[in-house]
Symmetry: C2
Subunit: 188 residues, 2 copies
Amino acid sequence: MPFAVPTLRRDAARNRQRVLDAASALLRERGLDVTMQEIADAAGVGVGTVCRRFRTKDDLVAALVRQRLERLLEILQDGIAAMDDDPWAAFADSFTASVELHANDRGFNEAVAASGVACSAPPEQLSAMLDELVRRAIEAGVVRADLTAQEIPQLACMVSRAGGSAIGPVDDDAWRRACAIVLDGMRA
Amino acid sequence: MPFAVPTLRRDAARNRQRVLDAASALLRERGLDVTMQEIADAAGVGVGTVCRRFRTKDDLVAALVRQRLERLLEILQDGIAAMDDDPWAAFADSFTASVELHANDRGFNEAVAASGVACSAPPEQLSAMLDELVRRAIEAGVVRADLTAQEIPQLACMVSRAGGSAIGPVDDDAWRRACAIVLDGMRA
DNA sequence: ACCGAAGCGGAACGATCGTTCCGCTTGCAG
DNA sequence: CTGCAAGCGGAACGATCGTTCCGCTTCGGT
């Protein structure tokens, strides 16, 4: 069998999944500065095991970022599909769902903020779907005509990071309020 | 002379100022992860000198954050003063200037984001001035009536962090566009 | 001009993390 | 059942940073 896939031993595959689950939960709650040690402990394995499966910490978070980006793709797909019915609701709901995805995952949020995401495949698909979503929203006359596709992810990321200012304490649900205001600002 | 102020030797005072200047410039451009070593080098002194004047790195950034907060105070003062003339312009200009202050200083921005600012005096004054600005803007009917004072700094911080999304590259002037949209969303 | 105290530089220290390495264990094909 | 390659844990390593320490220098009052 030429080019045999280097299949994982069953216990190794199980551990790999445990690491992914533990890392997902920890990164979501506490952000990028969780330690490899903490991830290993939470997964019930040694750090060596984590590093064997994901050569570097960046690889691990990249794997999780990829998962989130695929979820983002679903959100946009649903939004475009719902466009025929109520264009504004479709647009607003997609936007809100995207923001929520970011807001509920500190790790994803910080990874995205740190560098414009060095991910492999998704970006082009995402970009194409955003183009369509915005184009159709403009054609339907529900958003301001000067809105561009690349502004959407910028605004979504921005809103998801609301809360934490020069004065008041951090408010975990501040993004909902900010989301409403930004949606108002985007509406035609 | 009881309670004599432990006045600084002239050369020490000069070095202290050099450190502040160097730290200000470096933090503004590169954010909180500039090194004490880099700051010392830029100031032309040894790290020991930096740490003698500011017991800890946090003390140093806190000193600079305080400077920015005072600038913020001036902005709000000007905004309130201009309220009699054109309420909306006064409000919008203050907001935009606040955002610009944050956007042009990565260090300040990150310090504010990291923790709800552990600064000494200013917060109460700032809070009072924000109350007045928002109250008068609402009374003049130029912003939505459900806007609250504590939302302003949250929104300003949020907007200043625009740019850097799940897709496109980072755009240094994205905050201007986002600012316009958010202002639109706040308008009555 | 002198001298004690304040200041200085930068090597050394300690803490934190990601990553590697190695002796032992375990799944599994033959 | 058995042999061995794949997997495992966790100690050790190396890099990075903030902070401390100490022998020397410089300021400035007398």
